[in-house]
Symmetry: C2
Subunit: 207 residues, 2 copies
């Protein structure tokens, strides 16, 4: 709708006015140019990153399950719990996804603020891509670590005598698997964020 108002109003050389008058104060431009679709996609993807990281952490930390399992003294059984703190891989997963979720909500708010007021912080959002690349590595590594350990829990490893546990702790394994899947989605969101940042950089380069 804003772009239609632009077309009807008489505005000579609107697109290049900022190049010719760099010292023009912001109060002289009450209506900023319509926001790019890429900026809106950036906000949505960052919120998706926050949401997926939050879901992955919550599903992982609520995975505790207690079952009655046989103990070495044959006829007796005892309750035993499976929870994510029993594996360093899952602890790393929760730590990494918590940091990424925090990063996601902070940057989505800054990106939304930058979308609503484009002249307030023009440079900040373009620098997020550096952290996006770093966090992509962190989230992908966390997903791989948790997935590798979860796969041993699901299938076991007969070569070294690691028995599977998912036949006993089914709910625990379902939580772990869902959490890893959501974390994989967060990795894809981070890849898309980096690619969109590169796309918006490429669009600024003159032909």
């Amino acid at each position: 709708m804003a772009s239609e108002n632009y077309k009807t109003a008489p505005q000579p050389e609107t697109t290049t006015s900022w190049e010719k008058e760099p010292a023009r104060p912001p109060v002289a431009q009450p209506r900023p140019p319509p926001a790019s679709h890429l900026a809106l996609v950036d906000v949505v993807l960052r919120f998706l990153l926050f949401a997926s990281a939050l879901v992955a952490v919550l599903v992982m930390v609520t995975s505790k399950q207690t079952e009655i399992v046989p103990i070495p003294f044959y006829p007796f059984k005892a309750p035993a719990s499976a929870k994510f703190t029993h594996s360093p891989a899952f602890i790393y997963f929760v730590a990494a996804l918590s940091v990424v979720g925090f990063y996601g909500i902070i940057t989505s708010l800054i990106s939304l603020f930058s979308l609503l007021r484009p002249r307030s912080c023009p440079k900040v959002v373009s620098h997020f891509v550096i952290f996006d690349v770093l966090f992509l590595g962190v989230v992908a590594a966390a997903t791989g670590t948790a997935g590798g350990v979860a796969y041993i829990g699901l299938k076991g490893n007969s070569h070294v005598g690691w028995r599977k546990i998912c036949n006993v702790y089914g709910d625990f394994c379902r939580h772990i698997g869902a959490s890893v899947a959501v974390s994989l989605f967060a990795s894809v969101v981070l890849v898309l964020l980096v690619l969109f940042s590169i796309r918006s950089l490429t669009k600024k380069i003159p032909k």
Copy 2:
């Protein structure tokens, strides 16, 4: 040295001549402009990526170790091997690093060719950053997966009864650890490649 010749020779408006004469044939420009340092860094980093992926794969596939270990029939012992094919995580690791090493040598050759003949394929190298981002996710996930499984082999997990194997298969574990460390280096190289690509894109944007 090429830049000094540029300064001494009388060349009016050398830096903007390509903008004003886009239809000038290549034979009229026998001396291309000096290559950017960023392009040289790109070639070196891509070769480092290839070398580190190759080393990681070679160290992993040569990790086989055979030891005399006790078998369930108590007084007897038998030889048993540990090799990377016993774990799906290590197979994924070898597959991922092989693909990345192949990608590294191909792109380093193209990047070197583009460095020597800048006008032959100006757009190709700038598109590598998309695959760099994707392969960063793949290598980071492979590093995390192999690292997570290797950590169980090193420390075991008493909660689920997974015993450690590195006290028996020491050489095998050293190979795995070295391979994961080199793979981590490859991940860092990929992060640097993406950041340098973004940096070179940012330099092309007019102020």
